[in-house]
């Protein structure tokens, strides 16, 4: 056991993957295609090409190539006006779908993913030069199978689903893990495998970029929303340990922390606590993608004549460890929580997550440089009538600042611009919830542009039908001086 210390966040990285061919596996498109098969043609016609997803301004912000504030002034629609961008940025990368499918095969230890031989070679060629893909990975990719073998799996007794590129070309299939177990059905396993590999690639990236030996990681906390298990334990979990293995963290074990979209912030608090208590010296918090949310709002996108923009998967990873004297600190002495008794009003939630922690630290609302809350890209949500989610949240925070007489009511818009952020994250649930800003936050807290960033995230517990409540948690990041 190492000595206790004040916890810091050492680094954070994101792994995005353009996945147009998997949009049809998203929950909403999948259900609609099953009900009306012609929907598949409309979906395919509205998918965007790789370069458009790579260049897409909000994606460039998430991987750190652009500042979020750039979006305040970039004319909408962003999907038609994004300047060229690179696939790699200071906070991560976006990968094309050929690489994603190869990674799914590499991360699959049960021969669930069957790639056709010709495509397996394409994936191998694409991944061979990837700096985070190893020789062992390429060996695990295998040689693929004959197209006839995929035909046989798709027509066989065990359920299987075809894997197609966005172009419609079939490149393989994913097979169920059990003939009759709904928790091991092809689409469930596809979601879980995608979550595993996107989280693992993000973890590999942060370890490589920080120059850290993967074997030095003690514990990996999975904070995503996928239920990993079988019929006897549907949410059995510990994707965290599977991600640790995939990222080469041989000395680590792991666990999953569940909390809908606020899982990652809960996990950060727990990771910091483990470090502060001296239980572990280095803890990774990871969150894989939310494949089920691909195309979630496609109907609104089609209705407004825009491409289906929910075509990108996102995973994240960050490292929490003892104070190194330079990395931003996690203030465990002012964790905001939304208690059962707080009630459901927006004011009560923000009071719990913002007002109380600020008072505990003796700070005012304007002492926080940026509030990182629900950072969903409004271009994804507005066409379906869901509004600009970040701005809804920021107006409530600003309203509370006005109620506290720290700003004038007329200054609410200026407060939102000065202390809020435009939405830039794909609708990938927990990834969009506060932690999407982590790369920028760490950079700014290190170089002195910011002194404090408050991460606040909310989770929609009521979706699981066990309570009518939502949840929320917040934690302050502070410059290390």
């Amino acid at each position: 056991m190492s000595g206790p210390g004040r916890p810091v966040i050492r680094g954070a990285r994101f792994f995005l993957a353009h996945a147009p061919g998997l949009v049809a596996h998203g929950s909403k498109p999948g259900r609609d295609v099953a009900h009306a098969p012609a929907t598949a043609d409309a979906l395919r016609a509205a998918l965007r090409p790789w370069a458009a997803a790579r260049d897409y301004a909000p994606n460039q912000v998430l991987i750190g190539a652009r500042r979020p504030e750039w979006l305040w002034d970039l004319p909408r629609p962003w999907w038609g006006a994004s300047p060229p961008g690179d696939r790699r940025g200071p906070h991560g990368e976006i990968a094309p779908e050929t690489e994603l499918y190869g990674l799914l095969r590499i991360g699959d230890q049960f021969d669930l993913v069957q790639l056709e031989a010709a495509f397996a070679e394409e994936a191998r060629a694409a991944l061979a030069t990837h700096p985070l893909v190893t020789k062992d990975d390429l060996a695990a990719l295998g040689a693929g199978v004959a197209a006839a073998a995929v035909d046989a799996r798709l027509g066989g007794p065990t359920p299987a689903a075809p894997l197609r590129l966005g172009s419609g070309r079939r490149v393989g299939c994913i097979v169920a893990g059990h003939e009759t177990d709904a928790t091991l059905a092809p689409d469930v396993l596809l979601e879980n495998l995608a979550a595993k590999v996107t989280a693992a690639m993000a973890l590999r990236a942060v370890l490589a970029d920080e120059g850290i030996d993967p074997a030095s990681v003690d514990y990996v906390i999975g904070s995503g929303e996928e239920a990993v298990g079988d019929r006897y334990q549907r949410g059995g979990g510990n994707l965290g340990k599977a991600v640790a293995e995939q990222a080469g963290c041989r000395a680590a074990t792991g666990v999953d922390v569940k909390g809908f979209c606020c899982g990652p912030v809960h996990a950060l608090v727990l990771a910091g606590s483990l470090v502060a208590a001296g239980v572990f010296a280095r803890v990774a918090v990871v969150g894989g993608c939310a494949l089920a949310k691909l195309g979630m709002k496609y109907q609104g996108h089609l209705r407004h004549g825009q491409p289906i923009l929910e075509d990108t998967l996102a995973g994240m990873a960050c490292l929490v460890e003892a104070d190194d004297g330079r990395s931003p600190r996690l203030r465990l002495d002012a964790v905001g929580r939304h208690p059962v008794a707080a009630g459901a009003s927006p004011k009560a939630i923000v009071e719990s997550l913002v007002g109380e922690p600020l008072r505990a630290l003796g700070l005012g609302f304007r002492d926080v440089d940026r509030y990182a809350t629900e950072l969903h890209n409004p271009e994804l949500t507005e066409p379906s009538g869901s509004g600009d989610v970040p701005q809804l949240n920021y107006r409530v925070i600003a309203g509370l600042a006005a109620l506290a007489r720290e700003i004038a009511p007329a200054d609410v818009p200026a407060f939102v611009r000065a202390h809020g952020l435009p939405g830039f994250a794909p609708t990938q649930g927990h990834i969009a919830s506060a932690v999407a800003f982590l790369g920028h936050a760490l950079e700014r807290l290190r170089d002195g542009r910011h002194r404090r960033v408050l991460l606040l995230a909310k989770g929609s517990l009521f979706l699981g039908r066990m309570t009518q409540m939502a949840d929320g948690v917040s934690v302050m990041l502070e410059r290390n001086d």
């Binding site: 979209c261 009630g343 459901a344 009003s345 927006p346 629900e374 969903h376 949500t381 379906s384 869901s386 509004g387 989610v389 809804l392 949240n393 609708t427 649930g429 969009a432 909310k458 929609s460 009521f462 979706l463 009518q468 939502a470």
Partner: protein
Amino acid sequence: MLKGKKVIALGERDGIQGGAIAACARSAGAEVVLEKTYCFV
């Protein structure tokens, strides 16, 4: 205004939640027959 009325309270997580709408409606004398909160992200 709501006294004796039946109310369906539909809210959203990032706006006004169903429970908050229902509490307001009840306090105004309404009978809340359904309260739901949705999450749109």
